[in-house]
Symmetry: C2
Subunit: 372 residues, 2 copies
């Protein structure tokens, strides 16, 4: 493939792209994704700000204002009063940056993360050139806090906790971790990439994010926040952590920069603000309630087939132990259903996003029945 001498017409290029786009398995049949169709208002707002660069916001002061609003709204939603933060490209950047901040502040050489961590934590360990120690889980697939405590040494600069875990949507015992971490004087980064825009809308989940020693929290509007990719949030409890990742920015209209990318879309801030303002708490609550109803439905349907969930789901992620998941997954794909595989334990993992319909869950289980 090479850059052609003369260009093709707009119609021809867009027709080719439309054909490519239409060849996908539509989100309605995808039960493996933590992303979903963005809300239409998010798309409209993104389009309006599409030429803006949040990395050079002196040109577009309003996108900085929108970023600040998105950060404040997210902090308030999680019940955090004292914070600073910025919009990331998503959970991976947030995890890298949070651990970078902790490493830079404490000048340590290792951090500890649960066995259930997202793979971006492994990526962060390689990028930052620091050791990652892996803490075991208890029977509920939460991090084992006493084992975690024993792993702390004089070179440990931070701990990662999850709300919730990628495979099971499990939430680590934050209060217990916070108490232990405060005694050991080790800051804790909470990876809530998925949970941040689910947990606040489920009354039974009484999670306190505003605890001593919690130094940072990540959350992704481009997952359950219904915003456009890339849209993430990173909140710090103290300025010193933000300062530890600050970089001077000559030639730009700004003085400093905190983000991992330089140039980055202001459109993401506009999109996220728009969907926050348009849905409000009530709007999000309705979406999450529907996802939870559908999660309960799929459990009922799977139980009829003899499968039990690994844990009682706290959010809209549910995993069923299944030994021949590889074969089943392939067979399902042939029937145009996408499901995910969990490794610990081996099983079928389903993320019941807003794009998942009751009707499709029933059709899916019928197809699954034929396969097993």
């Amino acid at each position: 493939v090479k850059l052609r001498k003369s260009g093709r017409s707009e119609e021809e290029v867009l027709r080719e792209l439309e054909e490519m786009w239409n060849s996908r398995i539509p989100y309605e049949r995808v039960f493996s994704s933590m992303c979903t169709k963005p809300h239409p208002i998010a798309v409209k707002a993104f389009l309006l700000f599409i030429e803006s660069n949040l990395g050079d916001f002196g040109i577009f002061p309003s996108v900085k204002e929108l970023e600040d609003k998105v950060v404040s709204i997210s902090a308030e939603l999680l019940g955090i009063k004292k914070f600073c933060g910025y919009m990331t490209s998503g959970g991976t950047e947030a995890n890298i940056q949070a651990l970078r901040a902790l490493r830079n502040v404490k000048r340590g050489k290792n951090f500890i993360a649960p066995k259930s961590r997202h793979f971006s934590i492994d990526k962060a360990s390689d990028i930052l050139g620091v050791e990652m120690k892996i803490a075991p889980l208890n029977e509920e697939y939460q991090v084992d806090v006493s084992a975690l405590e024993e792993m702390i040494d004089e070179n440990t600069f931070g701990i990662v906790a999850l709300a919730g875990s990628t495979e099971l949507g499990q939430i680590d015992p934050l209060e217990e971790i916070s108490k232990m971490a405060s005694e050991c004087d080790i800051p804790v980064h909470v990876d809530a990439a998925f949970g941040a825009f689910v947990i606040p809308f489920i009354d039974e989940l009484d999670v306190n994010f505003s605890l001593p020693s919690i130094s940072s929290i990540s959350g992704d509007p481009h997952k359950m926040g219904m915003s456009v990719i890339p849209s993430g949030i990173l909140l710090f409890s103290e300025e010193k952590y933000m300062d530890a990742i600050k970089v001077r920015t000559p030639y730009l209209t700004t003085k400093h920069q905190y983000s991992l990318p330089g140039t980055r879309p202001g459109a993401s801030a506009a999109a996220t603000y728009a969907v926050f303002e348009h849905l409000g708490k009530e709007g999000y609550r309705k979406i999450v309630e529907r996802c939870m109803r559908n999660t309960k439905l799929i459990i009922e349907l799977m139980e009829e087939l003899g499968f039990e969930p690994v844990i009682e789901p706290k959010m809209n992620i549910v995993t069923f132990e299944m030994e021949d998941i590889d074969r089943i997954r392939e067979e399902l794909k042939k029937r145009r259903w996408l499901v995910s595989k969990s490794l610990n334990p081996l099983g079928m993992r389903l993320v019941i996003m807003p794009h998942v319909e009751e009707e499709n869950l029933k059709l899916f289980v019928e197809d699954l029945k034929r396969i097993i």
Copy 2:
């Protein structure tokens, strides 16, 4: 600011955002930005693929195909036959990842970058936890290759070279660097974030990117490529460098991931492919020729005011020595013109992007005359 209980209507939210957007200084009056308005076809293609996630492309096989095409087209454009690569979020990610790959392959502790490097190289040094040594420049503001050679020690894992530099658009002597680096067995990363989509369209610039020891090249379609933010390219000369930044991806529809972010917009691949295909070499050449004509025009106009460019511009970036740049810049901003400040040497830096019109350059110089 907090998440409101009940949401606001779509009309109300979009009206607020439109007002915010309209308050900016429009790109027509911005001579400080390396980004520009994306081409309309890029926006249309972005919109078509807006829900796609290139970090989980098993769901959207066509976006991986588009990414591969964009990478191939970019490599061919730069005259590189053997390559692998991926689409980044922009030059900063590309610089971090290129240096990470070199560090991981050679297991070294320091790299050397020219004094004229972009600040993202400093960011990469902090993130990767490796030392950055700064090589001096010659009289033409290119890296001094003999000084660079002397700085190499047994812990050096890589060299950064520029095509072109952020402040002046200067191009380091790649042939000379390649020869020296080959003798010393040190790989070279070429930061061509700005230059990659300018240099190939200027006949007088006979730059050879396909040289021994050049291990990686970055280029940003979201700068002179006229694509949507975030759109970057990273090309490696050998698989071993890609392998060195590979991360396993459980639960996804993919097996491995090379990018810094996890979730990332497939829409960027569609947008970039669309503008590549629609403009072709002739389309880009016309755009670059117009930018170069306008660059020559601003030099003529500035020379009439007594200012000389620091170097004869190789691309559409031109910098004039100016001691009271801070005051002048502020006065210009009051008149709604945005210009950039260079530090080495102190001066006024102008990036003559496709959004810059001849007429506005004349109006700008009239305003500047009044100020000085």
